[in-house]
C-alpha cells in the first residue's frame, strides 16, 4: 500500500515535470497542426474560403506543373546543399578537432561560426554583391585577365546553393566537431595495432563513429534549407521558385490559406521522409 502510494507520488511528480513541455507542444504544435490539416482540406473559391472538406488543393498540387516543380526544385537544392555542406564541414571539423592545438580550438570554432553573428538577410545580400557582374569575383577575374566578360554567377541556382552552403557549413562543423572530440584516441590506437592504415582507420572506425554527428547536422541542414525562401528569393533571382516561395505567394498575393496549408503539409511530409531516412542515426540511446 505504502509502495503504491510512493509510486503514485513519483508518477505524479514525473507528470508534473513533463506537463509544461506537454502543454507547450499541445498548444503550439498539435492544435495548430490539426487546424492546419483541417484548413488544407478547405478551398478558396473566388474571394471566399469555403469550409467544405475536399482534396482539391492536393489534387491541384499534383496536376499543376508549377506547384510540383516547386517541390522538385526544393528537393534538388536541399539535397545538393546538404551533400556539399557535409563534404566541406567534415574536413573543417576534423582539422579543428585534430590538428588545431587544444587551447586554440575554441578560437577556431568562434572564427568558424563568426558569420552566424550577422543578419541572415544581410549575408544573402552580401553574397549578391560578391557574385554580381561588378562583384568581387568578377572584378578579380577580369583584373587578372582570366575572363573578358563578367561571368553570370548571381541570380541563378548556383548562387542560391553557394549562399546556403556558406551558412550550413558552420552548423555542420559544430555538430561534427562535437562528435569528433568525444572519440577516444584508443579507437585509433587499436586500429593501428591491428594493422589498419590511416584511410582504413577513417573508413572503418572514425567515419562510422561520427555518423550520428554528420546525420544530426545533415538533418538540421535539410530541415532549415527546405523551409527557407529568403536565400532563393535574393540570390536565385526568382528564376525558379522553391516550395516555401510558392507558399508565400499563396498567402501574400491570394490570401489562399487553404492552399498554403496544403503545401505546408506537403513540405512537412518531405521533412518526415528525411527524418525516417536519418532516424537510425538520430535516436537517443540511454547510456
Amino acid at each position: 500500500m505504502t509502495t503504491a502510494t510512493l509510486e503514485d507520488r513519483e508518477r505524479r511528480k514525473a507528470w508534473g515535470f513533463v506537463a509544461p513541455a506537454f502543454i507547450w507542444t499541445l498548444a503550439f504544435f498539435v492544435v495548430p497542426f490539426v487546424y492546419m490539416v483541417a484548413m488544407s482540406l478547405w478551398s478558396r473559391q473566388g474571394r471566399d474560403i469555403v469550409r467544405a472538406w475536399n482534396l482539391d488543393n492536393y489534387a491541384r498540387f499534383l496536376t499543376e506543373g508549377a506547384l510540383l516543380k516547386g517541390l522538385t526544385n526544393s528537393l534538388e537544392i536541399t539535397l545538393t546543399v546538404t551533400a556539399l555542406s557535409v563534404l566541406l564541414a567534415y574536413p573543417l571539423a576534423w582539422i579543428i578537432a585534430e590538428r588545431v592545438p587544444k587551447r586554440w580550438q575554441r578560437m577556431a570554432l568562434i572564427l568558424a561560426i563568426l558569420p552566424f553573428w550577422t543578419s541572415y538577410v544581410v549575408r544573402s545580400y552580401s553574397w549578391l554583391l560578391v557574385l554580381s557582374k561588378g562583384g568581387v569575383i568578377n572584378q578579380a577575374l577580369l583584373g587578372i585577365g582570366l575572363i573578358s566578360e563578367p561571368l553570370e554567377l548571381a541570380s541563378n541556382r548556383t548562387a542560391t546553393v553557394i549562399g546556403f552552403v556558406h551558412f550550413f557549413v558552420m552548423l555542420l562543423t559544430l555538430t561534427i566537431y562535437s562528435n569528433l572530440i568525444q572519440l577516444s584516441p584508443n579507437y585509433r590506437r587499436a586500429a593501428a595495432d591491428l594493422g589498419a592504415n590511416g584511410f582504413q582507420t577513417f573508413r572503418h572506425v572514425i567515419l562510422p563513429l561520427t555518423l550520428p554527428g554528420i546525420m544530426t547536422g545533415a538533418f538540421l541542414t535539410f530541415v532549415l534549407c527546405i523551409g527557407d525562401y529568403i536565400t532563393p528569393q535574393i540570390l536565385g533571382g526568382n528564376n525558379e521558385l522553391v516550395l516555401p516561395q510558392i507558399i508565400m505567394l499563396q498567402i501574400g498575393r491570394r490570401a489562399d490559406f487553404p492552399m498554403a496549408a496544403a503545401l505546408s503539409i506537403i513540405l512537412m511530409l518531405a521533412v518526415t521522409v528525411a527524418y525516417i531516412a536519418c532516424a537510425r542515426w538520430l535516436k537517443i540511446e540511454r547510456a
Partner: protein, 360 residues
C-alpha cells in the same frame, strides 16, 4: 581596479542604465497620448513624413508595411475590427475593401479634391453610391527604366523591346503580376481595362518570351539594386519610383513611357470603418493630402512618386520636380492606363500565368 570593484561598477552602471531606460520608456509612453494604427506601403514609413504629424498631434503612429493588395487583405482578414485606423491601398482595389465592409465614409468636403490632378480624383474607384471612402494620394508609372549609357534609348520607345532578343540577359522583370500583365496587354495593342480571359493565351506567350530574355524577376529593392549596380541594364515595370530617388547619384538611369503607353499606378488612402479614432484617422489622411504632407510623401526614402495634390509643387525643390518630371505629367497621364481590375477568377488565372512564367 580590482576585478570585484570593476564588477560592482559594471553592476551599478547596468542598474543605472536599466533604470534610465525604464524611465525613458515610461516617459516615451506618456509622451504620446494616443496611438494610430496604419496599414501602409513602405513610402509611409519614412520618419520625415510621419514625425511632423506625430509631433503636431501628440500621437504615435504605428505603421505596418505590406506589398500588394492580396497581402493587405490577408492581413485584414487576420485582424480584429478596430485593429487598423487607416489603410493605404491600390486605387483600383478600393472597391474590393469597400465590398468587404471595411472602409468608413469620409466627408468629401474634408478632402482637397479640387486641388488634385483631375485624372487622379478617380471618383469611380474611391466612391460608391455617392459616398467617399478613399482619396488618391500618390501615383506614377510602371514602364521601362534603363541605363542610358548601356542601351540605345531609341529602342526603349517601343514596348516590344521587353520580349526581343536584343538585350537578352540584361533585363530584370518587376515581380508584380498586375502591372506587368497590364504592360504586356499594352504591348499587344490592347487596353488594360478590357483585359479578359480571352487575352490570356497571347499574354502567356509574351510572358514566356519575356522570361526567356530576362536575367531575373525581382522585388522593388532587388530591382533597384540590380539596375543601380549594373547587374541589368533594363528594368521592365520600373519608372520614376525606381530612378527618381537615384537621380543625383546615378544620372545614367532614365525611364520612358513607350509609344504604346504604360501602366499607371495610383495609391489611395482610406479610414477604416471600425476605427476607434475616426477623427484622428481623418486628420492623418488630411495631413497626408496637405501640400506639405504630399511633398514629403512624394520624396519618401522608400520610393518617389508624383503627389496627386498639385499644390505640393510649391513645397518641392526644382531638382525634385525635375526628377519627378512634374512638367511632363500632362502627356504621361494621357498616354498611360490604370492597372487591370480582374474578377477573382481572372485574377487567379493571371497569378497562375505569372507563377508558370517564373517556373519556366
Amino acid at each position: 581596479m580590482t576585478r570585484s570593484s570593476a564588477g560592482s561598477t559594471a553592476h551599478r552602471l547596468f542598474s543605472t542604465t536599466a533604470a534610465v531606460a525604464f524611465v525613458a520608456l515610461l516617459a516615451g509612453q506618456a509622451a504620446a497620448a494616443e496611438e494610430l494604427n496604419a496599414l501602409v506601403w513602405c513610402d509611409h514609413t519614412d520618419p520625415a513624413l510621419i514625425e511632423p504629424f506625430e509631433k503636431a498631434n501628440d500621437v504615435k503612429v504605428n505603421l505596418k508595411e505590406y506589398e500588394g493588395t492580396g497581402a493587405g487583405i490577408s492581413i485584414l482578414e487576420q485582424s480584429r475590427p478596430g485593429d487598423w485606423d487607416v489603410m493605404v491601398i491600390d486605387a483600383v482595389d478600393v472597391h474590393r475593401v469597400i465590398d468587404m465592409g471595411l472602409l468608413g465614409e469620409m466627408p468629401a468636403d474634408a478632402l482637397p479634391s479640387a486641388d488634385l490632378f483631375p485624372e487622379l480624383r478617380m471618383e469611380a474607384n474611391n466612391t460608391k453610391d455617392g459616398k467617399t471612402y478613399a482619396v488618391t494620394e500618390k501615383f506614377g508609372y510602371n514602364t521601362i527604366s534603363y541605363d542610358k549609357t548601356k542601351v540605345d534609348p531609341k529602342d526603349m520607345e517601343d514596348l516590344s523591346v521587353i520580349w526581343s532578343d536584343k538585350y537578352k540577359g540584361r533585363i530584370a522583370l518587376y515581380d508584380y503580376y498586375l502591372p506587368m500583365i497590364g504592360l504586356v496587354q499594352l504591348g499587344l495593342g490592347k487596353k488594360t481595362a478590357e483585359l479578359s480571359e480571352a487575352d490570356m493565351p497571347a499574354i502567356e506567350e509574351k510572358l514566356s518570351a519575356m522570361k526567356a530574355v530576362s536575367k531575373q524577376v525581382s522585388d522593388v529593392i532587388s530591382s533597384q539594386t540590380a539596375l543601380a549596380t549594373g547587374e541589368v541594364d533594363i528594368l521592365v515595370g520600373g519608372g520614376e519610383w525606381i530612378t527618381a530617388s537615384l537621380a543625383k547619384d546615378k544620372p545614367n538611369l532614365d525611364w520612358i513611357v513607350p509609344k504604346q503607353g504604360a501602366v499607371r499606378w495610383a495609391q489611395s488612402i482610406a479610414v477604416m470603418k471600425d476605427s476607434a479614432k475616426p477623427d484622428l484617422a481623418l486628420k492623418f489622411v488630411q495631413y497626408i493630402m496637405s501640400p506639405e504632407g504630399q511633398a514629403r510623401l512624394a520624396t519618401s526614402s522608400c520610393y518617389w512618386g508624383m503627389p496627386t495634390n498639385q499644390k505640393a509643387g510649391e513645397h518641392l525643390a526644382p531638382e525634385q520636380k525635375q526628377a519627378l518630371r512634374w512638367d511632363d505629367q500632362a502627356g504621361y497621364l494621357q498616354n498611360t492606363q490604370l492597372y487591370p481590375v480582374p474578377s477573382a477568377e481572372l485574377d487567379q488565372k493571371m497569378q497562375d500565368a505569372w507563377t508558370n512564367m517564373m517556373q519556366q
